[in-house]
């Protein structure tokens, strides 16, 4: 196990969510679920974050923002799409300005469905993401050693 999995700091971005999923993301940080038990901290800075939680679908206006946040995050990093809209576009999928799920903009590692996504589903998604983060961390270490 790499240390990346013991201290996953998340950054949360509301793409074009209705705020239902956003409230659930914050609920996971509150005393009821208290994800800080696992070392998870909600940062406001992509440069400090390891996990990118996106809620809501990607549209023409915010695709550049999503890409920019992803690019500013430091490797190793993973993306969790939170909620049905972030997974596939949801009920907004055929809206004139909606491009679809977050995977239309950046590579998504874990899909956490639900409308709104339940805090349990978010925590499940993040725990799955930790496995992927661990692999990426080891790969980065191996490539550094090789270089």
């Amino acid at each position: 196990m790499s240390y990346a999995t013991k201290s996953p700091w998340v950054i949360h971005y509301d793409a074009s969510s209705c705020n239902g999923c956003d409230i659930e993301v914050l609920a996971a940080l509150c005393p009821g679920f208290d994800v800080e038990r696992f070392g998870i901290i909600n940062t406001g800075n992509p440069k400090h974050a390891d996990i990118f939680l996106v809620t809501g679908s990607v549209n023409e206006r915010n695709i550049s923002v999503v890409k920019q946040i992803y690019d500013q995050m430091v490797e190793p990093k993973v993306v969790v799409a939170c909620g049905t809209c972030a997974c596939s576009g949801g009920i907004f999928h055929d809206c004139y300005n909606v491009l679809g799920g977050v995977d239309q903009a950046i590579p998504v590692d874990v899909y956490a469905p639900g409308c709104a996504v339940r805090p349990e589903a978010i925590i499940d998604g993040v725990v799955q993401a930790l496995g992927i983060l661990d692999e990426k961390s080891k790969a980065l270490k191996a490539s550094k050693r090789g270089a």
Binding site: K6, S7, P31, R37, G39, V74, E75, K141
Partner: protein
């Protein structure tokens, strides 16, 4: 000879302080979580955080912020070494300010708007606490007859008995120094957002890890200053000093969790007022006894 002591002290501090500071930071997070009705992270969470940051890829905006942070770390260790080897208190205070200045330079070096704002706010913090720190050192000199911390062990009663106003003033600015709410305006523990975490906006990976380790060392040094007030020739005083330092630290956590962040104007005004009243009157009193 004293230079050899300082060197030994610096090396010892550089090894011991991060360990003690890390455990204190972990306890701080658990206690804070319990005060908020949460379970909180494991005790070693700050250690995991720093190890993770060191595993991250190297990305930097300016290329020199890492160097500045290394300087800040070295000066912090040096300040701790001077103090804990029984050296000059005033020199320790100046050197730790030097470390703060390097931290500010590291934040300024990225030229990012939020980092510059954070650096400006960090500068205001230094401006706020520095008068009280200097007056505290002067009071110690007048009470103990020397700036040397080791000379506190020669006294027949601890300095707290005559410079307790300066101690109260020092407790006030300790909140700024330990980066606790209501004065955590430049690098807060809790709100991980742009303005109150401004100084570290452009820092990531190893540079951010250095910031964390510097903060651990700072905490140990400032708690050492707190305990210094309670030392006298009785060896038991050392135990009392440790207990008081830990009590002050717990008090700061309580303050942290119960007070809302203030604007920088309020911090500057109140800190200078406290320095003038607590420190100034204490010095006037000591001049006439």
């Amino acid at each position: 000879m004293s230079f050899v002591y300082i060197l030994i002290g610096t090396v010892a501090f550089a090894i011991v302080a991060p360990i003690v500071g890390c455990l204190l930071a972990g306890l701080d997070r658990i206690i804070s979580a319990r005060m908020q009705g949460r379970v909180g992270p494991p005790l070693l969470q700050p250690y995991y955080d720093v190890r993770k940051l060191m595993e991250k890829d190297d990305v930097t905006v300016s290329g020199v912020d890492g160097v500045y942070m290394t300087c800040a770390l070295v000066f912090t260790a040096f300040a701790g070494g001077i103090f804990f080897s029984g050296g000059n208190l005033l020199m320790s205070a100046f050197i730790i300010t030097m470390a703060s200045l390097f931290f500010i330079m590291a934040a300024y070096s990225s030229r990012s708007p939020y980092a510059e704002l954070g650096a400006g706010r960090e500068t205001l913090q230094v401006m706020s606490y520095e008068p009280m720190v200097l007056l505290m050192a002067v009071c110690f000199y007048m009470a103990a007859g020397s700036f040397n911390v080791a000379d506190a062990f020669l006294l027949d009663k601890p300095v707290i008995t005559i410079i307790w106003p300066a101690f109260l003033g020092f407790l006030f600015i300790l909140t700024i120094k330990l980066r606790k709410s209501p004065f955590d305006i430049a690098m807060s523990h809790h709100a991980h957002q742009e303005l109150v975490k401004g100084t570290t906006t452009e820092m990531s990976g190893k540079t951010l890890a250095k910031v964390e380790v510097m903060h651990w060392c700072e905490t140990v040094l400032f708690l050492g200053w707190t305990g210094m007030f309670f030392l006298w020739m009785n060896p038991v005083s050392f135990v009392i000093a440790v207990v008081v330092a830990l009590a002050a630290w717990f008090f700061e956590i309580w303050v942290d969790n119960n007070f809302a962040r203030v604007k920088w104007q309020a911090m500057l005004k109140s800190a200078w007022l406290v320095a003038l009243v607590a420190g100034g009157f204490n010095i006037i009193f000591l001049m006439f006894v």
